[in-house]
């Protein structure tokens, strides 16, 4: 043993063999297919968000009088500011897309079924946190969309029975958008939600490690080949490759389509055509179709159903023997979501 190794070993009593055992979790063969690595993608993008977010926070000033100008400073004056801001924006978009795709993969392969119900629910919490982080994020820029998005969002919470009024006041720091509102959104966006997500991710991955990734068999797989490969280095290399590809993609998008600035927030007039970010198109269309209370309560019910889906699915399968019902329900849901998103995207109002 070299001097350095001994020096370290004496202070950090970690056994090399143990370390190897921990990191070398056997990974089922189907993870050689890239689409099963979609779970690692949001985690990677999350790291990008933390790094770029902390950098942006050095210049960002969360108050109505200063926010817009500080984002303009980041975009136009700070060296590489435009690039970092664009990375943050594109990684946010891709993170949300990746979380949705990852969830669809889990859904359609039935990986949420017993014994993995808890991890599905943790995943739902991660989805909600990601969407909320995206929402609070674009409220920070203090352009027209930020202001009216935040106002509409706060009033949606107001529609929730009983606790709605309290939640709205908590969110806005008052009855309406005011001087102290933006700092709340900033703290939620940059501290509370990311910290919650780190915690949830730890739980998510711990449960995953305890249970192992669900196993799938493909028709074209030969029985004589090994069923597993090592996490380290094999799967690790796959993830590194995905990380590199993502970084190139992000960098290209940030350069070709950098984040721009819309008109500054004007509390006295709502723009004639107003749209949220793409991932809220569905909700936005839904809000146009029903009265406020109906829209909010039905959305709550849908989210609640998604939350408890592993149990509902189990119940359906026990009662009806229609073991593939979930697939058909999933297909209808996906088509509805895509349909409503496209509908919202192509019309002005």
């Amino acid at each position: 043993m070299g001097f350095l190794t001994r020096w370290i070993r004496e202070r950090l009593p970690i056994d090399g063999d143990q370390l190897r055992e921990w990191t070398n979790e056997p990974v089922p063969n189907h993870l050689k297919r890239w689409w099963f690595c979609l779970g690692g993608t949001p985690a990677y993008l999350f790291a990008v968000q933390i790094a770029t977010g902390i950098l942006l926070a050095f210049y960002y000033e969360p108050a109505p009088a200063t926010a817009y100008e500080s984002v303009r400073y980041i975009t136009e004056t700070a060296t590489y500011g435009w690039y970092l801001r664009s990375l943050h924006k594109w990684a946010a978009t891709m993170m949300i897309a990746a979380v949705i795709l990852h969830q669809m993969r889990v859904y359609f392969t039935g990986a949420y079924r017993k014994p993995r119900e808890i991890n599905w629910m943790v995943g739902m919490c991660l989805l909600i946190c990601t969407l909320l982080t995206g929402f609070t994020g674009y409220s920070l820029v203090y352009e027209q969309l930020s202001y009216w998005g935040a106002t509409v969002g706060a009033n949606i919470t107001d529609t929730v029975p009983i606790i709605g009024g309290f939640m709205k006041r908590m969110l806005l720091a008052g009855d309406g958008y005011n001087e102290r509102t933006l700092s709340r959104f900033f703290i939620l966006h940059g501290a509370v939600l990311p910290a919650t997500m780190i915690l949830l991710l730890l739980i998510h991955i711990t449960i995953l490690r305890l249970q192992g990734v669900s196993e799938l068999k493909f028709a074209n797989e030969r029985g004589d080949r090994p069923q597993h490969f090592s996490f380290f280095p094999d799967h690790f290399y796959t993830e590194v490759t995905i990380g590199l590809v993502l970084m190139i993609l992000l960098s290209a998008l940030a350069t070709v389509l950098p984040a721009t600035m819309g008109p500054k927030a004007d509390p006295l007039s709502t723009p004639e055509v107003i749209k949220p970010e793409w991932f809220f198109y569905v909700t936005f269309r839904w809000l146009k179709l029903f009265s406020g209370t109906v829209a909010v309560l039905s959305t709550g019910l849908i989210v609640f159903t998604m939350f408890l889906w592993p149990f509902i699915d189990g119940w359906i399968r026990r009662k009806t023997r229609a073991s593939e019902a979930s697939v058909w329900i999933g297909i209808v849901a996906v088509i509805t979501i895509i349909g409503m998103t496209v509908w919202e995207a192509i019309v002005a109002h």
Binding site: G174, N178, S269, T270, L287, K288, S291
Partner: protein, 200 residues
């Protein structure tokens, strides 16, 4: 732990066991655990409550009655624009001739659905809300979209007449214009026909 220490500990255990009967011992043990748990829950609970109170916004936005005009100078059908301290423009219309507050109408431009600003579409003779396509007729009654589905009209600012002078209650927060004025909860102070041009 050295052997000597271990021996001492063991001895202590034996002494304790001898001095107190098993039952009383476990009673004291659980009582002190409970007290400790209670103390922890109490103190951290207090801190949590304090944090909650700290985060809950103090007070609402200050409201004040502002002078608008002399009632005698308006006749039914007249209207004018008033700029509130928040920066919002409010149309004040006269809809009756008894000179009472009910004869005047001050419609809020805040959509009762989710709080966007409606604007007047002269060509369609209606207010339109760009957020979720809510529409309102000239008196503020919802005619289509989510506000109509929920039966929400444009809210009205509170008005009062004192000594022939008309006052309006508005927020004096200049601010980021808190979009929500204090409003007389959509209640109709002017039942029957709602026509801003004519009488109630």
């Amino acid at each position: 732990m050295s052997n000597v220490e271990e021996g001492v500990n063991e001895a202590e255990h034996r002494i304790e066991n001898g001095a107190l009967s098993g039952d009383r011992r476990s009673f004291f043990a659980s009582a002190s655990s409970l007290a400790m748990l209670g103390g922890l829950a109490g103190s951290y609970g207090t801190l949590a409550v304090m944090a909650g109170r700290f985060l809950y916004p103090a007070g609402g936005s200050p409201m004040r009655w502002m002078f608008l005009t002399e009632t005698g100078r308006m006749k039914p059908g007249d209207s004018f624009k008033y700029t509130a301290p928040s920066g919002h423009t409010i149309a004040i219309a006269c809809v009756g001739k008894t000179g009472k507050a009910e004869d005047f109408l001050a419609l809020s431009s805040v959509c009762p659905h989710l709080g966007c600003q409606v604007y007047w579409e002269a060509q369609n003779n209606r207010f339109f809300c760009p957020c979720h396509n809510g529409t309102f007729d000239a008196s503020g009654r919802a005619t289509s979209g989510p506000p109509a589905a929920a039966g929400q009209s444009l809210l009205r600012y509170r008005l009062k007449v004192e000594g022939g002078l008309l006052f309006i209650e508005v927020s004096v927060d200049r601010a980021v214009a808190s979009a929500e004025p204090s409003l007389s909860g959509g209640q109709d102070s002017c039942p029957g026909v709602r026509d801003p041009e004519g009488a109630c």
